[in-house]
């Protein structure tokens, strides 16, 4: 087994899914001969042909809408949006159609589609290429919002998303597209949806995060360990529907929680987790819940990007602040 990065894991999962199910199609801008701007679909058109892998005209609302039509007809399109920043026009289709079709036809039609988009900052990308607005998707009923944080989970979660009978918005943290690498078995094993992954066990404090921020959060946990503090690190992975039980269970043991995300603070998905902790876990908390998030600013261009992104230092500062409480 060789070590691969997230981008390769995503490609492997798509190829595996296309191999095992001929209703799986790949659509998007430049996903054919060019293999996608990040090369996620590299080689797929050569292997599966242009009746399975489609370069579409440049139109995002169309991408989502065509996927809805294909989904209603029993196909399983895996549709790529080049960058999350260009997904906005397609949110109409996700909220008004993909998430509603099964419900509004009482199961007569459904929408087994996956809408993939690279997201997040930290790669010095041009304007509109670094945002994180996963919370907007998480507010939409009837869909799943899934974010992998490693090559192995990228492979397993994407396979699960493609096999899922309902629409999934699959957001790929592009900062970790090429590194780190890890061994991933191309064994067709899906990873479970709708559940958090405990990446590190600890009894002193719970650090909750998702996507690329898992790196800084694990680094912060390592630093805390050097001080004799054991942090539990939870990768939420499926934001919607949320597996709150895993988080509540951890906080019951640690009494402390820091939530980390790149997206702006206000209305970010951390707010949902914090609110549910207040609702269900308050009696177990010995300290306030802290959020380490992006600012409520427009994502800065690359020169200031570093100052926007939550850092290990900010995570440590928040953790230390609530470790003061006893």
């Amino acid at each position: 087994m060789t070590e691969i990065a997230l981008i390769e894991a995503v490609r492997l999962a798509m190829a595996r899914a296309m191999e095992e199910d001929e209703t799986v199609l790949v659509l998007g801008e430049d996903v054919g001969v060019n293999g996608g701007v990040f090369r996620a679909t590299d080689g797929l058109v050569e292997r599966f042909g242009d009746k399975r892998v489609f370069d579409t005209p440049l139109a995002e609302a169309l991408l989502a809408g065509v996927s809805v039509g294909l989904g209603a007809q029993g196909f399983r399109p895996v549709t790529e949006f080049q960058f999350m920043g260009f997904f906005y026009p397609a949110i109409d289709q996700v909220a008004n159609h993909a998430g509603r079709l099964r419900n509004r036809t009482r199961g007569r039609l459904s929408c087994p589609i996956v809408l993939r988009a690279p997201f997040g900052g930290g790669i010095h990308a041009p304007e509109h290429h670094s945002e994180s607005f996963e919370a907007m998707f998480a507010h939409i009923p009837g869909i799943r919002v899934v974010i992998p944080s490693s090559p192995a989970r990228g492979y397993g979660l994407l396979l699960a998303a493609i096999r899922d009978p309902d629409p999934v918005v699959f957001l790929e943290p592009k900062r970790i597209y090429r590194a780190p690498k890890e061994e991933v078995a191309d064994d067709g094993e899906a990873a479970p949806l709708d559940c958090c992954f405990v990446l590190r066990e600890g009894s002193d404090i719970t650090l909750v995060t998702w996507g690329a921020m898992v790196l800084e959060t694990l680094a912060a946990a390592d630093s805390l360990a050097e001080e004799g503090i054991e942090a539990e690190v939870i990768d939420v992975a499926t934001l919607k529907p949320l597996d709150m039980a895993t988080i509540l269970d951890s906080v019951e043991r640690t009494g402390r929680c820091v939530i980390v995300h790149e997206a702006p603070l206000t209305g970010g998905f951390g707010a949902e987790i914090a609110a549910r902790l207040a609702d269900r876990g308050l009696v177990n908390l010995t300290a306030p819940v802290k959020r380490v998030a992006g600012f409520d600013t427009v994502m800065p261009l690359p020169k200031l990007e570093r100052h926007y992104m939550p850092s290990e230092g900010r995570i440590l500062a928040a953790a230390r602040e609530i470790l003061e409480y006893s």
Partner: protein
Amino acid sequence: MTEIASFAVEYRRFLDPDGQAVQPLPAFAQDPAALIPLYRAMVLTRSFDAKAVALQRTGRLGTFASSLGQEAVMAGTGAAMRPEDVLLPSFREQGAQFLRGAAMTDLLLYWGGDERGSDFAGPREDFPICVPVGTHAAHAAGVALAFQLRGEARAAVCVLGDGATSKGEVYEAMNLAGVWRLPVVFVVNNNQWAISVPRERQTAARTLAQKAIACGFEGVQVDGNDVIAVRDAVERALEQARSGGGPTLVEAVTYRLSDHTTVDDASRYRDDAEVSARWKDEPILRLRKHLTDAGAWSKEDEEQLIAECGKEVEAAAEAYLATPVQPVESMFDWLYAELPGDLAEQRAGLVAEAGAAGDAKDD
């Protein structure tokens, strides 16, 4: 100057407002008796619309969009389709939906506020009504792509309004249909109004049909009050689509004789005189004149048909009014194939609340 491209848009009409043929009729229309089902479909739609409006006025139906005056677009489109084609309506196409086998009771259920109304017993693959204007054009492209990929001789029919043609997404879908030669027909119900905005405020283009030309396929304009012209144009477009010839746009020029919906008051933005003047063009009268002149329709036939349609509509309304409300928890039960744990908790809370209130119903 070198002209590198030039285009023309055809206008087609078979019957003038007096029901007189202005050119040889297509094969399906040569025997007047064969036109009676189309006539019936239009009369039934008008009866249904009248009943639905009456139900709304008496508090027994929600907001409803009548198709008064546009029955020929609906009947012509519905009749041109084969059962295996797929219809993607907007919200005023009940006449086409009935011909597809959607039950009147179902549509009343839908407008009455019950999701089961979109679980059509008849056309299982047809799309439900689409409220977000124009967003279903892309679905039609997706459905058509599915047919193309499976090599099936079927086509998708997307009906949209004149207002909808202003939406970028409609262009996106037509553009894709053109590039990939998808088996789809876009039927534009140009009823001259998008709520209060008249057709000429919607676009500076001379016709809506010509929008297809920019997408690389044919757009034709037909007299939308001539059911023969609508059916003929949609039928030809469907044949072309099913046999791999790609998409067509059919612009049916008609007029919305009613308010936009039951919550609209059109007197705020258009003169009654304009509306009155348009009644002479309406499609049912036109076909009736044609049938009567041909000796294929009598006063007795008319009376019998009106009574028959009235009865059918009454029965549908009664069935609708007698349908019990869904269990409250049904709002959860079709969201996902399997209800996630997160939502199971919310569902249980609602069930407990409804149980405590002593009613499993809510309206």
